[in-house]
Subunit: 545 residues, 2 copies
Amino acid sequence: MTLRVALAQCNPTVGDLSGNLDLLRRNLVQTRSHDVHLVVFPEMVLSGYPPEDLLLKKHFLLECRRLLDAFAADCKDMTALVGFPEFDGDACYNSLAVCRRGRIDAVYRKCLLPNYGVFDERRYFHSGSTPLAIIEKDLSLVLTICEDIWDIETLAGSLASLPKKNVIINIAASPFHAGKLRQRQDVISAAARRFGCAVVYCNLIGCQDELVFDGRSLVFDASGTLALQGRPFREDLVVFDMSPGDSGLTIHPILVSSMKLPGDPVAEVYEALILGIRDYVRKNGFQKVLIGLSGGIDSALTAALAVDALGPRNVVSLTMPTRYNSPETIGDAKLTAENLGIDIHTVPIGDLLSHFSRALYQVPGWDEKGLAYENLQARIRGTILMSLSNQLGCLVLTTGNKSETAVGYSTLYGDTAGGFAVIKDVPKTLVYELSHYINRLHGREVIPRSVIDRIPSAELRENQKDSDSLPEYDLLDRILKGYVEQIKSGQQLIDEGFPPEVVNKVIRLIDRSEYKRRQCPPGIKITPRAFGKDRRMPITNKYSF
Amino acid sequence: MTLRVALAQCNPTVGDLSGNLDLLRRNLVQTRSHDVHLVVFPEMVLSGYPPEDLLLKKHFLLECRRLLDAFAADCKDMTALVGFPEFDGDACYNSLAVCRRGRIDAVYRKCLLPNYGVFDERRYFHSGSTPLAIIEKDLSLVLTICEDIWDIETLAGSLASLPKKNVIINIAASPFHAGKLRQRQDVISAAARRFGCAVVYCNLIGCQDELVFDGRSLVFDASGTLALQGRPFREDLVVFDMSPGDSGLTIHPILVSSMKLPGDPVAEVYEALILGIRDYVRKNGFQKVLIGLSGGIDSALTAALAVDALGPRNVVSLTMPTRYNSPETIGDAKLTAENLGIDIHTVPIGDLLSHFSRALYQVPGWDEKGLAYENLQARIRGTILMSLSNQLGCLVLTTGNKSETAVGYSTLYGDTAGGFAVIKDVPKTLVYELSHYINRLHGREVIPRSVIDRIPSAELRENQKDSDSLPEYDLLDRILKGYVEQIKSGQQLIDEGFPPEVVNKVIRLIDRSEYKRRQCPPGIKITPRAFGKDRRMPITNKYSF
């Protein structure tokens, strides 16, 4: 007997219940044409993930149930496994509905609830405690949800009571960071080997605020060998047969995309950023984005990513020079726009800066020598971008990278002003790698060579360079990785050989910039520990080490 | 035998470990002079609460332990109960150290970890599972931490194994909202009656980012009657004797402040806001604050609160009129400053507005008829305030109330620009009540009558009134309370008799303003459900009802 399975790796929108129901139905129709017996949808596909405090609304949970019942009524000729928030009148569970025979035939409740990093599942859900296996075509399919499979000993304890296990099914909403796929493959392969059965893993795709879900659903055979993989960062329908063979189940592909990412490790970050921009813009009802092009690499990269995500007609750029901008950077802003095929408007702000400063002289203490005057330039630019965003209905993309964001090398309401911070979690060194990658990908100089080669500068005063205020980015990024991502202490970093004065300075800058980060737009998480809901530091805090 | 107890209701700063150790020591010295046997400190007093992701730093946890050991060495002649984050080399606990005989003699670990509302304790802590009672002067003192006492059935189960219970001690870091005291008293009184023993409750005071802790430590006798209360919103040392009497323990005050809040229910909100401003400013290293005075009631109230918190010399105000501001409001801004005894600077922004608009005409699509032009005025003001903040080192207090914040009746980077949003959780109707309260408290018109009486307007165009865009505040605030605080659905509100078209409009405005709120400064929680870490909605969200 052969079981034909489809993994419907799809992209729901949080809260769009009727839209998500349509998505389920469209997938059901499509699988039907492939004679599928069992279709597997990702975790929480009905509500989108994470729905956060929507889960505190009983009427939201009841509406989820109503739509799930409607969907289950469609599942007469096949079985669908659907992730949804379940409400039993009292508590809420992260659940998987077995829809068959025209109804919700059984429900599995997630047992292990992650409550670390970007996860807050214990805020919302109660834990399930009962394992569930269903029989399809004489195969016993054990149902699990995401985290359940990440603690193999707990899972082993939980599954001990099940008499027969042919396949473990895991539905997931696993957020991306660079390198995560490897971890997932290791975990799933280990589970396959430990339990001696195939593992079928269906992951969400799409962007929800700070999180990108990368799809790449997986099928491992009972020996722990990868048999199939869903498309990266795209919706996909993976169809395959499972039939008993000499050594366990044989997995036979029916409909599997051959799409692979280029070998370059930067490729997956590029894909995450593209998907992140596209989904945030689309799901929030925007068409076009607006970007301030300075002539520097961060804004050039952001614009290039936006063009690849949305097309050049949906990207508008603006350059807002003062006398502190060199002719080269002004030229480079225009060259970047030209290379990208996007509109560029020029609004010189020198006069505005003079008028503003004159107005500010009415308050004793103002002068043009300090940081405030430098930052005023950034704030005038932020105001112009936001005014045009307001007027034209474009979303402003901000262009700050993770290195700047970390040390607060930015002006609040200035260069941080906007709706979505595309490269907020991309360290400066990776900004360069991404720029080279994009140029290679397009086979031409999309991001001008001169932009890539120029010494980084905010150009807010004469002859300013980033290195006047900050260590070289290569050093800075390694300290950031240790301090922010790996939660090392300053002492540990010093013991590892980083210069003490640089470590101390960088840590001080990071810790006292928390108030700025708190008011920045959301951006796409691509590292193991991003600022935002991933790293939650108090603003008022006297501990810095 | 008499046990003399002190409740050291004190105000630590998150992360300021050596400062907090000094605070413990100062209190120890003070209690010694009163011949105290047992001094009780609040939950997590050593680290401050909540320390958030500082708890993920092992070196932070180890440093806490080192300082606690140092403090315990001082506790030779008396016993101190100290809340601290405990690290056992593997997991972290929210713990209470029994410091006596010059060492940490025992440790109790919190059993019930709140993970709702503003709490994220399961992100950081493992649960304890063992009850602990200590003997002092022949009395058996049962140790509990905050949430432990809020679920009386669970507590009863946990305490069943303890042979003798004379007193339950509860150390707490219980965040304030209006009306919370009553809830606490009910819970503690019920515990006293249920277990037939006195309950001693020591609460933190102080402000940490969005949270205010209000102190008001409590002592209930075994009959469930309130015997003593610590000062509201201030540090305090409450000293009392407990001695066996005919009907259980007798509680005899030794050092108890008679300070009480006025009967007015608005009084506690006023106190919370004053403490919130004072602590946020002080703990973040500021002296002075800067406020834009529009002549309207929100900024007048914010300035009056700031003056009461910091003194008039630490409050600087700025008025930034355009031709859309009536002579009356300009006059009222000045009158407010005069009444408050604070400096006021005038920076007219009409010319800047013209220059800006002229610059913006360089981009096709700009015009002066729309919302963007109105908002530009707010953004120019935001830029001026932030530039002066930058230059003068003052913290900008923003002046938006909860009603505006809810429906997004504000300009991002305009009137939302600043460091601390004092009345962000205060609905407009309560803004009026607070203004009257302040005038009564001072026995004079601190906030001018004309400011209180004027019809609310943003004055961003001719003859604008808030009621052009929003329902009357009385109606709006009742809808907000139902939708935001009580998590009712639109349908429920309509069923309760609210006009459907108003309900639908208000809910739509609330839901689509999430992106703005996400970039607003932190502010003081005073309601049961504040925007911020209390109410966590996705930005990308198509569910609105």
